[in-house]
């Protein structure tokens, strides 16, 4: 059983018809998630257990994970690191992720400063059980907001990069729910119909400054000369 990496919201019906009476035993679906959550807890998969408990609470809404909790999930940090490499290898030398010049940095006139935005997404199926059971197939979307300034042959890029789960269409946040056909789906449908569970949106709010210097070469290419990443906060 695992949560799906959702691309589109699929919130459950919130009518009162299926709401459980206070004090009545949970539905079979609700019991299933309670049992699985206990197993996760016993195995030390705390984030997975907490996520099931949030889902099982039926409240929905949004949960923002702390940096300390994200730091326990190596695969997420690797996705983030991969995005930093992509910024350095492509964005900061004026190319898209296929290595083609975007023209934005190349067309800045000497002394001019422009807004500079870009983003990269790294995703996959985490090979750590604790991460996979917590987030399923997931990814990290990193977005740069900043400026690019030209001074002679040098381009100075300064800005802030935010890292979040990927909600699709370059939007942050990802829904914790269960896809049709996936283990747990039937129990999820039952629990949600009984008002005992509800999908929620997962966010991380990790951000860091970045400062880069690239140099125009006579052949028209930009070469990365320096990059400084601030601490993630």
């Amino acid at each position: 059983m695992r949560p799906r990496a959702a691309q589109a919201p699929a919130m459950s019906d919130t009518s009162n018809d299926g709401e459980a009476d206070v004090g009545s035993p949970p539905s079979a679906g609700g019991q299933f998630f309670d049992t699985v959550g206990s197993v996760f807890r016993g195995l030390g998969f705390d984030t997975a257990a907490d996520n099931l408990a949030r889902y099982r609470s039926g409240v929905g809404g949004t949960h923002v994970y702390s940096n300390a909790e994200i730091a326990r999930h190596g695969p997420l940090l690797r996705y983030e690191d991969q995005n930093r490499s992509m910024f350095e290898s492509f964005s900061f030398v004026g190319e898209n992720d296929r290595g083609n010049p975007t023209g934005v940095l190349q067309n800045i006139r000497d002394g001019e400063m422009v807004n500079y935005h870009d983003n990269f997404l790294s995703s996959g199926t985490p090979h750590w059980p604790s991460t996979y059971l917590a987030f399923g197939r997931t990814g990290v979307l990193s977005k740069l907001t900043g400026t690019a300034r030209r001074d002679g042959d040098n381009i100075f890029i300064d800005g802030e990069v935010t890292h979040d789960f990927n909600g699709g269409n370059n939007q942050g946040g990802e829904l914790f729910d269960f896809n049709p056909g996936q283990p747990g789906r039937r129990s999820a449908t039952e629990a949600e119909a009984a008002g005992e569970a509800r999908p929620f949106t997962m966010h991380m709010d990790r951000r860091q400054t970045v400062s880069a210097l690239a140099r125009y070469e006579p052949n028209g290419l930009l070469t990365l000369q320096r990059v400084d990443w601030g601490a993630v906060r």
Binding site: M86, S89, F90, R98, A214, N219, T223, L224, R226
Partner: protein, 94 residues
């Protein structure tokens, strides 16, 4: 001749006054090219040049490594380059 080490990309050290085997020089140039840090103006030659040394030093500085312009087989600079290059697509050298 020692057997090649599958855990290193370099056969011998690269840098000023090092072995600088042609295959090793080309590997370093390709790695730094993939990372956007080395853009030679002409055909890539298997010899060490100032642009390469500058790129190696800048990379070491940005990664918090010892800035000595040297790469040793299995050393920290080579290891970092291997990890990073695995994350990004390859760019052809001229």
């Amino acid at each position: 001749m020692p057997a090649p080490n599958p855990h290193t990309a370099l056969g011998a050290s690269v840098g000023n006054e090092q072995t600088n085997a042609h295959a090793d020089i080309l590997w370093v140039k390709q790695a730094l090219r993939d990372l956007g840090r080395y853009n030679p103006q002409r055909e890539t030659l298997p010899f060490i040049d100032r642009m390469l040394l500058e790129a190696v030093r800048a990379y070491q500085r940005d990664r918090g490594l010892r800035v000595d312009g040297l790469l040793r087989p299995g050393g920290p600079t080579e290891a970092c380059l291997r990890v990073e290059c695995a994350r990004v697509p390859r760019r052809p050298l001229p």
